[in-house]
Subunit: 282 residues, 4 copies
């Protein structure tokens, strides 16, 4: 606990356990909760496998109820123990926690509400909280910075890819036609993106020579295009990696644009006080 | 409007609305036009989906007529309001605008002229004009510069890929033969490029052990080759990114769209107070 | 042999042959052993090809026995000739050598123990010992250093990919359903990773328009995501490559930690004799 | 012609036309020859397309004879006009020229000798001679230098990929078995490389949950592994690109090979006027 809290009621103790990761209890709570989240996600997965669902339906439903009740207790405890409950409820994690808890209750009201179970997967993001939170978020934020810095380039890139896909997809639709699987322009655009990203399912594939020729051009284009986002992210990461080089780094000397008052030479070290050229004081 | 225009007839007002992006009317026109372009492209897509075309043929045709008439009005307005209409008509955007407008008229003369509808997709390029044009084009032009600077390398690379594809494709044709889908050398070369670019549809796949061995070599080759364009673009982007770092950098001057009142030259430095061309005060 | 060994018994001579790569005998032993390892791996491969196994079962079994006996002799010799046999037995290579030797013996006790034959492939790692060991390991360790330095970033990246896969996989399961091959959430997650990594088998592929739309988003995401590990490894390798630039390189000035005796400034050229700060002799 | 040749017989004139690219005749000869090579390669392709071969067999055979005779004349002219014919005959291009010429003659002796026609594709490499040879070779040689410099890393990388493929391929063979297409260990290794390189044909695909789990691991591994060659080539290209930076760059101090007249020290700044070593005027 970083800041001293004078009133030490049970709400505070609950708050400490749930929201603080530094206290032993808080650490254990985080790990137990993460275990429960993984368990709940696995449960949703197993329910989707037909033969498991048929054979162990009762067991799975019981376990689902246990998870739901534990999630409900946790959710209520979070609301009670925080000072501004509304802020939590409408926060990103608050909404995820809410929608991870309610599907089973809702399933008695609406059929098919189990789709919401997928939202539980978002709770896995808590892993970053457990695994030395700050450091990992630090690394992540460096990635984020690299991505943000190249946001404009990536937007231009994505628009270009989409426009190319629409143009080439429409072209392939006119060339190939129904037999090869190019049943409509949207399908054809889908195929173009499948090809351009080098995924290549093969459920749709050109069969005419001219279609194969254009497919070849799309592939070589995709080959070149794949270089662009990589180049953008890499050069951004490299720049940051260079920029965060310790200013006191031995191998790295900053040269500024200061001009020597005596000989008018430029290119002195940032911390130089004498001209490298004539030796007069800067 | 940056430069004062003394004669303020309706032609000028139309010109302002259509060609200027800075005035409120011009902005609204650009956004409305882009909406219409997206709508027209979606229309072409929907027409290609069989069941939609069968069920809503009348509606789609009516909408297509509305789009065509609006495009016609816009095209005529563009020609009337510009000083050098021929220059516009035969420019890249002028030709695209023309071919985006005529397909429906032509469809009463030639069957199958609707192929031209695909050209409409090119009009989507206008998006760069709307989304803070200059900045995005700036970013784009940085990508362009990177691509241009590595043009020679990319040409050598593409020729090498093509020659490798022809050689290995011919080899695979002799090894695999018809049963595996390698029905001719062109098809075999198509397969080689599909493999080399790691697309891998699987419509054609080697079945003999020796064919699979060569396929393995092609894949590992492709693995290595994919590194080359990425390396070229990345190192070029890194170099540019390094070059434009420091705001005091000599090689990097911010150029604005200001026009010299005396000699009408564009492209002055942001901090320029005199025209670089004629020396008069800006 | 680097260090002189006074007692020259047969154990020492065996040790020299087996463990030393510098003596002519040691070199020959290494090459012969590597040949035997490749032969043993090829043998396991050939046994798995049905028609070869049916036709040449006797020959293959005899050869397998010869390999097993030679491996046994080698294993025993290694244990005898080393000073701390237990340390070898429980080392990484010791365990691989053991499990590469026993499968044939075990096959008389347990059926199906031939799975262990796969472990032999690990013995191929010895190739690095033969091909100028140190240099190659040096190169490898540079790669290792790059990978280790970016370990945290790669962990964050992998967790993000896994969480995205779980979320999008679950979504696709609800959208596509059984007909398209999305029979359960685990299968659906498997498909998402197949798509995200741009592998794209095509055994499972979306058939509904909304499924294809999400698939398109996954692919474009994968396109961007593939840039991240490349960017991480590249920027790390670039940083290392810059840091270890040739000391005799003309364009590169090495700055050392020497302190000026007069003004106590640091950061002089490696070969400087005068302080850049106060001009006094270093 | 760079060096003066006193004897100007017909052999010399032939030599000039065939081997010199700078004279007008030499240029025309190169372009005509390259056209003929492309034509001969297209001819081989067309012959392989069944319906074309059936319908136009006579025409194709005649054209093939014309190409063969022209190639024969060129080959004989090359041998006659060069001073050391044997050196040419056994050079890389000499052998390619020979094997590109003989297939049709051989087809009357051996059936199936037309496989040699594939060798003609190598003659396409002449394109680099025509398209401003030196510059392109220069670019190519920069790529070559980058590839050579990272040769050791790439070898280690390839061996690692192969060993991983053998190990995981064998594992998948035991897990999946015949139904999924993993009919033997070699096939299984082939599949592993198909997956690791993100090609993913889909002709073989895992169907058991545990097989799909391992496939997922292989894909994520491939995702990471693809970063390594890209990283190696990129960092090498970046390093070369940095080494040849702009001479006016502020952040970059150019050190020249000038020698101090007083203390004979090397390694001064390009624009230095005083020795950094002894302070005397340069």
């Amino acid at each position: 606990m970083k800041d001293v809290k004078p009133e030490k009621g049970w709400k505070n103790r609950v708050h400490e356990i749930i929201y603080e990761a530094d206290t032993p209890m808080g650490k254990w709570f985080d790990i137990a909760l993460f275990g429960l989240i993984i368990f709940s996600v696995l449960l949703v997965m197993l329910e989707s496998v037909k033969w498991i669902d048929v054979q162990y339906h009762g067991v799975l439903l019981t376990l689902e109820w246990i998870v739901t009740i534990l999630f409900t207790i946790e959710y209520v405890a979070r609301i009670i123990s925080i000072k501004k409950p509304l802020k939590y409820v409408f926060s990103f994690y608050g909404l995820i926690d809410f929608f991870s808890t309610i599907p089973l209750y809702l399933s008695y009201i609406f059929a098919g509400s189990q789709v919401l179970l997928a939202i539980r997967a978002f709770r896995l993001l808590r892993v970053f909280r457990i695994l030395k939170l700050v450091r990992f978020l630090g690394e992540a934020s460096q990635l984020m910075k690299a991505l943000k810095a190249s946001r404009a380039k990536i937007t231009v890139f994505l628009f270009t890819v989409l426009i190319i896909s629409v143009i080439l997809g429409t072209l392939m639709y006119w060339i190939e036609g129904d037999e090869a699987g190019f049943t409509s322009i949207p399908t054809s655009i889908y195929w173009t993106i499948v090809t351009l990203t080098t995924v290549g399912y093969g459920d749709i594939a050109p069969i005419t020579p001219q279609g194969q020729l254009i497919a070849t051009i799309i592939m070589l284009l995709g080959y070149g295009i794949i270089a662009v986002p990589t180049g953008i992210v890499t050069s951004e990461l490299s720049r940051q990696s260079t920029a965060k080089n310790d200013p006191n780094h031995e191998d790295f000397v900053h040269i500024n644009t200061q001009v020597c008052p005596t000989c008018a030479k430029e290119g002195h070290r940032d911390d130089a006080s004498h001209c490298y050229n004539c030796g007069s004081k800067l």
